[in-house]
Point group: C3
Chain length 339, copies 3
């Protein structure tokens, strides 16, 4: 399975979600992204800085240092770095050598998430940062999970929505979701999968949100924007018309080796000020993510406990997944060829 | 030390204890055996099914699925397997491909233990399942320990009973047990070691069981049925005749890498309905097993903490152990030659 | 960074601190030193014995055995070892083979610490055991830390005292300590670094000890006696003369792979019987060590989490550290050449 192979790790020249906006303050935050430590802090003008998280002098984690006049001072021997990564002070000597400079990573704070470009800074284009907002929808729930499993397992999960009926039975899953026709569309760096279920029982989590448990028509789909984001929609209507529409953004970022970060926001376009509904969505999203994360971690444990990594068998439900994996693979190969 | 070497792991074409009979219900149970995941469940007719524990589609642990009409449904995408391992349903497509079939392992449930044949099913012969019952004895105590040490350490332990005096001092061990003559007999796949101690102090655990602390004659021995079972006896008599006889079956099954499963039953042939005696045996067996397991785990930790695995030095007390190890080695080599 | 490389581990032919004197009793104590298990016990005449911590028969940790007549009996099968490492009893046979002998290590108990010579016993010279006492000083505080980091990180820490101002800010660190001139002297197996700060604010920990928070002159330095000991001094004077002098001995001993033992004593030459002062020193030393250990462990984690071990960048403050590392390297190379 290609993107699981170690020699094809992940695309670097792309925007990834690194943190929730409210996580980044004037107190440095460490996060391992794409198998490298990164330190984040917020400057006095409100902008976010992302630097290599390791002091080049003695490998001390820079997140254990402190921010002084918008610069980051190492907590071990006081080497100090400007927001652009230049070392501007070495306490024991009058000048700061260029060998002490560290990388600064392009970042964008969209108010919900802080995005990072872990690859070549010269190729970072802020216009490529995905716009996760949508007309008429308001994000009411956010969640984060640290996952002890390789990031591709989370993509695989979202690229094959036939898991809803089984992994999320009794929650957001509809009986028969795997039986209806899948409609697939594809672009250069995305693949979209859509389904419609007519006259199907309303899944328990949604029945609780709508206060309606009769039959529904459900239209749902997911677009995988390779390599960092999935945007899904879920629309329900009953005999008296539309019950509600949801929009969920799933950002997946590789972390330490065989670990990943999973950021999710969920929005709705109805009863926007209903706090009970927001609490219900929070509850439903949390349970669903816990099931997804448990699956990824169980598979990671299975794979690593076996003597050798197994090959998987592909079935018809994997058609979208196969296309998604190929997009990952070709993106990684293109990057390697350019270097 | 041969059976500790990684390239000579363990015999596969043999019956091993996989679980206690009462552990296997209609709720799937996962157990790693011989470094492979296996899932067990009980069918409506009471028989036990053992299948590969990993879904071939996405490596999800099948034990997290559920039993539907005596078949096992994967909890991730719903692939369903019959008790013979055939995949009978893939939700996204009308047929189930043979590539999705998984291995089913021969099993025998003897009412106490569920035995599994992890090797070639065609060679499994239910007549070879050891009969652990014995005329006049009733099993009153059962125990299970999960051991964080390679399985051979548990065999080594039972193949050299001179450890009783030291590891089990103050418990089941007799002073001087290592000094008396050892009587050894051997067959094609077993080795038996027997000792007799005349006029020796009754060991504390047994003194408590008999309510008698005077001198005893103790006859004890252990038969190692390579590769999965040891059957031991322990007989005490005092000035007024026989005090009691015990029979202990020790089943050892390799688990995950450098881990093992240890199942034990203890039977007696006297005062069969005395509940206090049963409670006393339960207590004595538990303490003894804890000492044995602690020894195996301490050695495992010692071996793996050293820069390289050490060789051990053999002494006279190891004569039976050496024979046992050779039986393991030749059994493993015969299997390799046949493949 | 040389001493961090695995193929240049540590000098063996030297005295290292193995334990506090009061840790070694008639109950065996296991400690891993220089990546080998060692077992310590005290004989009836009060002297300390140090033997290989692993029984050669079955690798059982000898520290789980017991001392019988000043000899050490293995807790598994009863093999017994004299204080010189000779095996003197194997229960199953009338003689004890030389193959069962184990190494005995030269040790010296100086009343505070037990020193061990892990290398060639023939080269051990008790006259080389460092004398950690000093005229006019009394040791009032001792501490021990088990460090989950390679031992060289602790040496690096003490070889570069510019860390005081940053890692120990708000504690024992003086502002500006990195800015004053460093005076360095060096011998065949030691390097000494000294600094003087005139008219500097008294660091918080010392202000609390002296009950004086005005400006001070601080003279401090550290001598690294390669490979096992650092001896530091710290002298404070105010407008009315000397406030107090301290002397701190830091013993660093490699333990298991990438783990180290850190033993510290702190002495003062004033108000020797003031218990409040002793309690204050205890508190200050504990907090300081916790900061040092946290730094070493953070760096160890950083190094091992990265895909490959990073090179560090040297700055002027590392001049003493570089000399110290070279002393380690040449000592290790000399030892290898002699073997």
């Amino acid at each position: 399975m290609y993107p699981l192979l170690e020699n094809l790790f992940a695309p670097l020249n792309s925007w990834y979600v690194a943190a929730s906006s409210d996580e980044v303050t004037t107190t440095p935050l460490e996060r391992w992204l794409l198998e490298q430590p990164v330190v984040f802090y917020r400057r006095s003008n409100g902008s976010v800085t992302a630097l290599d998280g390791r002091c080049p002098h003695r490998h001390f984690p820079l997140a254990k240092g402190r921010v002084v006049d918008d610069n980051l001072q190492c907590g071990y021997h006081g080497l100090t770095f400007a927001p652009d990564g230049r070392c501007i002070h070495v306490p024991s000597q009058p000048f700061a050598p260029a060998a002490c400079n560290i990388a600064a990573h392009p970042v964008v704070d969209d108010g919900t998430w802080v995005w990072i470009w872990p690859g070549d800074p010269a190729r970072a284009d802020v216009r490529l940062v995905p716009n996760t907002a949508a007309e008429g929808f308001r994000t009411s729930v956010r969640a984060y999970r640290h996952v002890r499993g390789r990031y591709m397992l989370l993509h695989d999960n979202l690229l094959d929505l036939t898991h809803l009926e089984y992994l999320h039975a009794g929650g957001i899953g509809s009986t028969g979701a795997a039986d209806v026709l899948e409609h697939r569309t594809q672009g250069e760096d995305w693949v979209k999968s859509e389904r419609e279920q007519v006259d199907t029982p309303c899944p328990p989590h949604f029945a609780a949100l709508f206060g309606y448990s009769g039959p529904v028509t459900r239209r749902f789909g997911m677009t995988c924007h390779v390599p960092a984001l999935h945007v899904g929609y879920d629309e329900f209507s009953g005999p008296s018309g539309t019950l509600g529409r949801f929009r969920v953004c799933h950002a997946i970022t590789p972390g330490r080796k065989c670990e990943a970060h999973y950021f999710v926001t969920a929005a709705r376009d109805f009863a926007l000020d209903n706090q009970d509904l927001t609490a219900g969505m929070h509850n439903a999203l949390g349970k669903t993510l816990d099931e997804d994360v448990a699956a990824a971690e169980a598979i990671e444990q299975m794979i690593t406990s076996l003597r050798e990594e197994p090959r998987d068998v592909l079935v018809r439900g994997d058609a979208t997944c196969v296309r998604g994996r190929r997009l990952f693979e070709s993106m990684i190969r293109r990057e390697s060829a350019n270097l």
